[in-house]
Structures are given as structure tokens and as C-alpha cells.
């Protein structure tokens, strides 16, 4: 035990208590300082880190419980022990509820005091060790924003790192939500193009004509509405990386155009003749079985081979369940900051549900479930009920058979209730856009809670 690392602040308005207690603790080799009232203690807390604060309950001005509350806010990792000459059950309960580590009645039994300090120091050493180990694990299991300890994903990280240091085209394959774009970004960041643009295009999101213009740009007057020359994503990504998502969805015409560009990195904007040359690294992705698409004549074989230089197949989450606790921790850390909530983790029961769930939507689904849970939870530890993961048959048991539409209506109404009527947040949690959500709310006659027209809509 490294006692010199343990810093103790004794806060008491009685000098004799400060001096005798600090002297007793110094004999144990701890670094000890004293403060004679709450405000001066908090000044010391603002300027230095303390392992343990021994705080007298009754002090003039700011009492021990007020000091405790402020310390919990300023330095939540510090242990606060409340000392008092007047023991009452109520104050002890209040102190513990407010986050005190322990409670001592003056005068203390030396053995009790000694054991308590040793226990706190040992716990803090354990926390430090665990934090350090977690950092090591994260470093070991991370590739930029991706985290995994499964051997299959570790092999993928190794391949992706090697790919990053080449200029070769990468084809990322995998189910929806497995993190194809995250991997593409990681490869880009790891490459010597990392400080240049990373431009992502979803090839399935746009109709053919718009996608062509999106990729290659257009000249003024190329088509109705082309009021000015516009650069496409190939030009925008010049020097960097172009990520072509859902490449399996592009039309035969665009497949041919793309093949030409991939061959010599030269093209003309839509409606133009000027040849534009770019230096772009291509990373393509799809959740389709491209080999099958080629066999069945829907995808050009030559384009497939042009893209399939370094294929990387991401593993679905259900095939690497050992990663779920690691991912849950990493996602909660990020989501809690986004939602401005203090979340320590998930309960054992909740983790068991998360690990056993099938995750057909992969990490994206896991992220959405955790985001929802963080929104609805009333605790700092996410509970199984917060996850809203349907257990097979559970709904039927309660209310009997429901139509698909009724399930949808109820789910939308519940989510709106949880987000306090926030449509954008609800749409994000449901994985649909706001327009779709508004259409469904109109269809099912669902009103937003806490808005003017509010009347019970969720629990008819």
C-alpha cells in the first residue's frame, strides 16, 4: 500500500481535533492537511485531489453535509467520512444517502478508525488498479473507434491496419449496423491520408441521376436546376478517402462509370467535357452478397474485382457476444456525455439480457437500445427494465394477441412519453426519420405528451 499517495484532509472547527487527528494519521505515513471550516476545505478541494476527507458534521456556517454535497460534485472519487459528537440515526442515514463513505462518532475507537482508513485506502487502490487495467484492455482491444477482443475481429483490425498503410481499394462486407463506416473511417485515420478529407456517400439513398451528379459533380446547365457548377464527392475527397456505402445498390450504368474512374482516377463532371483527375483512395461497403450479385448478373464482375482488392468481412455481433460488455461500456461512456447524464454502467441482470439478445441490427441496434435506456432510466445504473428488450411472448402474456399495427402504435406512444414528446429524439431512437414518425403519429392519432392537445394517447 502506497501511503504517501493517500492524501487526507481533516475538516473540523476545533483545533484540538484537527491537530490530534492529523498527527495520528501522519504517524501512519499519510499526507495530511487540515481545514478549519467548510469554505476553506472546498478551496483545498478545488486546488488539489484528496483521497479521503474526514469532515465534522457540526461546524458554524457551512455544515458537514453541505461540504459533503460539494465534494461529491467536485471530486466524486474522494471518500468522505462524516464525524460527529452527536450520533443520531437520522443524520447517519442522511450522510450515507448523500454519498458519505462512512460515519464516525467522536471519540473514535482507535481500532475502528484504523480499520476504516485501511479499508478505504485498499478500495481506492483497487479502483485505481481496475481503471488502469481497463485502460490497458481498451488500448489492447481498440482500433480507433472500434473495440473488440474477439479473435476474429482482432484479425480484422490487423488486416485493416495493414490496408491503411497501402493505397489499395478496400471492400468492407457485413450486415447492417456492424460498423462498416466506422471501420472505413478508422482505416482513413490510420493512413497517411488521415489529415485529408474523408467523404462518405450512401449509394442507396439517391436515385441514379442524382447519385451520378453527387459522385462526379455537374456543370452549370447540365440539367434542370443545375444553376451553377458543383463539385462531386470524388473531387471533394481529393487527397483523401471516398467511402462508397451500399455499393451493391448502384445501377449498371453507374457501375460502368465507376469502373472507368477506378481504373485511371479520371472523369468528367455531368454535362461537361473537361477531364478531372483526382487522387482518391476508395473504400466501398455493402451488406449484399456481391459474389451472388455477380453470378446472377446484377453486378459487373470487372467492377467487383476492381473493388475486391482487400476484402474485410465484419463479424455480426451475435457471433462475438464476448464483445458485448466491452461495447456496452464504451457506448455508455460516449452516450452519457451526449445525453449529459451520469451513468456508471448496467446491472448484472441488464447485462445478462444484453449478452443473450440476438442483435439482428448489430452495434447500431445496441447503441439505440442503450440510448433509449439512458433516456428513460431514473438510476445511475441501467436496469433490465430500462432496456425495453422484448422477451418473446411477454407482451402476449399480458394483453393477449395484438396486431402488428397496434404494437407499433403502442411502441411509438411509449417512446414519445419517455422522451417527453421530443419528436427528433423519438425518431432517432426508433431508427426512422421525423417525417415518417409524424406520418405514423397522424395515422395512429398519437399526440405528443406535454403539448397543448395532450390527452392520454399511449395507454388506451
Amino acid at each position: 500500500m502506497n501511503k504517501e499517495r493517500t492524501k487526507i484532509l481533516v475538516v473540523d472547527d476545533e483545533e484540538i481535533v484537527r491537530e490530534s487527528l492529523s498527527g495520528w494519521l501522519r504517524e501512519d505515513g499519510y499526507r495530511v492537511d487540515v481545514a478549519n471550516d467548510g469554505p476553506s476545505a472546498l478551496e483545498k478541494v478545488k486546488t488539489d485531489r484528496w483521497s479521503i476527507l474526514l469532515v465534522d458534521l457540526k461546524m458554524p456556517g457551512m455544515d458537514g453535509l453541505q461540504v459533503l454535497e460539494e465534494v461529491r460534485r467536485l471530486q466524486p472519487e474522494s471518500a468522505v467520512v462524516i464525524m460527529t459528537a452527536y450520533a443520531t440515526v437520522n443524520t447517519a442515514v442522511t450522510a450515507i444517502k448523500l454519498g458519505a463513505t462512512d460515519y464516525l462518532v467522536k471519540p473514535f475507537d482507535p481500532e475502528e478508525m484504523s480499520l476504516m482508513i485501511q479499508k478505504i485506502v485498499a478500495q481506492q487502490a483497487l479502483i485505481r488498479e481496475t481503471t488502469l487495467l481497463r485502460k490497458v484492455i481498451k488500448r489492447e482491444y481498440k482500433f480507433r473507434d472500434l473495440v473488440s477482443k474477439s479473435p476474429a475481429m482482432q484479425a480484422i483490425f490487423k488486416l485493416a491496419r495493414a490496408a491503411a498503410h497501402s493505397q489499395s481499394t478496400v471492400l468492407v462486407l457485413g450486415e447492417s449496423g456492424t460498423g462498416k463506416e466506422v471501420l472505413a473511417r478508422a482505416i482513413h485515420q490510420e493512413s497517411d491520408r488521415g489529415d485529408k478529407p474523408f467523404v462518405a456517400v450512401s449509394c442507396a439513398a439517391l436515385p441514379d441521376s442524382l447519385l451520378e451528379s453527387e459522385l462526379f459533380g455537374h456543370e452549370k446547365g447540365a440539367f434542370t436546376g443545375a444553376v451553377a457548377r458543383r463539385k462531386g464527392t470524388f473531387e471533394a475527397a481529393d487527397g483523401g478517402t471516398l467511402f462508397l456505402d451500399e455499393i451493391g445498390d448502384i445501377s449498371p450504368k453507374l457501375q460502368l462509370d465507376l469502373l472507368r474512374v477506378l481504373e485511371d482516377r479520371r472523369f468528367a463532371r455531368v454535362g461537361g467535357t473537361e477531364v478531372v483527375t483526382v487522387d482518391v483512395r476508395i473504400i466501398a461497403a455493402t451488406n449484399r452478397d456481391l459474389e451472388k450479385e455477380v453470378r446472377e448478373g446484377r453486378f459487373r464482375e470487372d467492377l467487383y474485382y476492381r473493388l475486391n482488392v482487400i476484402p474485410i468481412r465484419l463479424v455480426p455481433l451475435r457471433e462475438r457476444r464476448e464483445d458485448i460488455p466491452l461495447l456496452v461500456e464504451a457506448l455508455i461512456e460516449r452516450l452519457a456525455v451526449e445525453q449529459d447524464r451520469k451513468i456508471d454502467g448496467v446491472s448484472a441482470e441488464a447485462m445478462a439480457e444484453l449478452v443473450s439478445h440476438d442483435w439482428n441490427g448489430n452495434i447500431r441496434e445496441l447503441r439505440n437500445v442503450l440510448e433509449r435506456a439512458i433516456v428513460v432510466t431514473t438510476s445511475t445504473t441501467l436496469q433490465a427494465a430500462d432496456l425495453g428488450l422484448a422477451r418473446p411472448g411477454a407482451e402476449l402474456d399480458k394483453v393477449g394477441p395484438l396486431s402488428l399495427e397496434e404494437v407499433e402504435r403502442r411502441h411509438i406512444a411509449n417512446m414519445l412519453k419517455h422522451t417527453d414528446g421530443n419528436v427528433s429524439q423519438t425518431a432517432r431512437l426508433l431508427g426512422i426519420d421525423r417525417v415518417t414518425l409524424y406520418n405514423k403519429m397522424r395515422k395512429y392519432d398519437i399526440k405528443r405528451p406535454n403539448h397543448e392537445e395532450t390527452h392520454a394517447t399511449g395507454d388506451r
Binding site: 501511503k3 481535533v17 495520528w24 501522519r26 504517524e27 484504523s114
Partner: protein, 191 residues
């Protein structure tokens, strides 16, 4: 150029208890202290008693007040003065202490009140004397600047209960002995 004291500076043990001590017990403690620290140690006799240190509410003596008093009234030529009493000692935040010392200072005090074996014992009982000798060596260690040791068998390990006192042996562990020699060198206390 380093300066050395002209003569050895003894440690003084002074009985300041309410009742008279059997002479032999203090002699045993004196011999033990001398062996552990390798410093001349003598018994000091004085009629004064720290009556002002008595707290009538607690029925105990304030060990901190005794330390101040020892510096004031005790032998001025001694480098370390250790008061030994049969009265129970306290510091304000604790129910009792076996003893107290000034960390890196001159004064220390130890009490026999909580060292009595279960069922009682006379002051010259062997177990009591062994415990007293350990606590005297322990508090003197603090006065040399030693802090508590994590090695439970070292005399400098924390004594919060009689079990702690009985677990440790009477001497300094290797680390504390090395540290003691450094501190002794720094404070110019030599055999």
C-alpha cells in the same frame, strides 16, 4: 565539516504514574530500549506529576498535554524523554491511546493502563513488561521520525488493539532500522 556531540545523549525514562512502579519493570524496559536503539538510556526520577493533563469528564489524561509538560519539566540534557504512566491516555478524537510521541520531536509518553493482560496482572508481570517495552520503543521511534510500518511484526506497526501489540516483536524491521539510522544521523543523536 560535520559536528558531533561531545558526549552521548541519553534517552530518559521517567515514571509519572499515580502509583509507584516496581523498580525492576522500568529497568527491563530501559534495557530493551537501549538494545533496540543502541543509545544510552537512563531512568530519571522526579516528584512532579502532570495533574493538569487530567480530564475529569473523560477520567483520562490528555497525552498531548503530557508531551508539552515533559518538555517543560523533564530533564533538559536528554535528547529524548519518555514518560511512563499507569493512567489511561487519550487524544480528543480517540477513546484512548497506548501512547503518543512528537513525530521527530523530543517527548513521548506511554501508559500501562490498556496493556494489562486479561484477568489482571501485577506491573512486573512478564507479558505486561513486554508490551510496555514494545510501546516505549514504538513511541520513541516516532520521536526519531519513524512512521508506522506495514510489516505487522515490526515494532513500528500501528497498535490499535492489544492483538496488534502482541503480534509485533520488540525490534525494528530492516527497513525501519535503515531509516532510523538515517534519521539518527540527521538529528545528530549518536551512541
Amino acid at each position: 565539516m560535520s559536528r558531533r556531540s561531545a558526549a552521548p545523549s541519553p534517552i530518559c525514562l521517567w515514571w509519572i504514574g499515580a502509583d509507584a512502579p516496581p523498580e525492576g519493570a522500568l529497568d527491563d524496559v530501559r534495557g530493551h530500549v537501549e538494545r533496540v536503539y543502541g543509545l544510552g538510556t537512563r531512568l530519571w526520577h522526579g516528584p512532579e506529576r502532570p495533574l493538569h493533563a487530567f480530564d475529569p469528564v473523560r477520567g483520562q489524561l490528555s497525552s498531548t498535554r503530557i508531551l508539552e509538560w515533559l518538555l517543560d519539566v523533564g530533564p533538559h540534557d536528554a535528547r529524548k524523554v519518555v514518560g511512563v504512566t499507569d493512567m489511561d491516555l487519550f487524544i480528543p478524537v480517540l477513546t484512548f491511546v497506548f501512547g503518543e510521541a512528537q513525530l521527530g520531536g523530543r517527548a513521548a509518553v506511554v501508559s500501562t493502563a490498556r496493556l494489562m493482560p486479561e484477568g489482571g496482572a501485577t506491573l512486573n508481570g512478564r507479558l505486561l513488561v513486554a508490551r510496555l517495552a514494545k510501546e516505549a520503543v514504538h513511541e520513541l521511534g516516532h520521536s526519531f521520525g519513524l512512521v508506522h510500518c506495514d510489516e505487522v511484526h515490526c515494532v513500528m506497526s500501528r497498535s490499535a488493539s492489544l492483538i496488534d501489540v502482541d503480534t509485533k516483536n520488540g525490534g525494528l524491521c530492516h527497513d525501519c532500522w535503515t531509516r532510523y539510522l538515517e534519521l539518527r544521523e540527521g538529528t545528530e543523536v549518536h551512541p
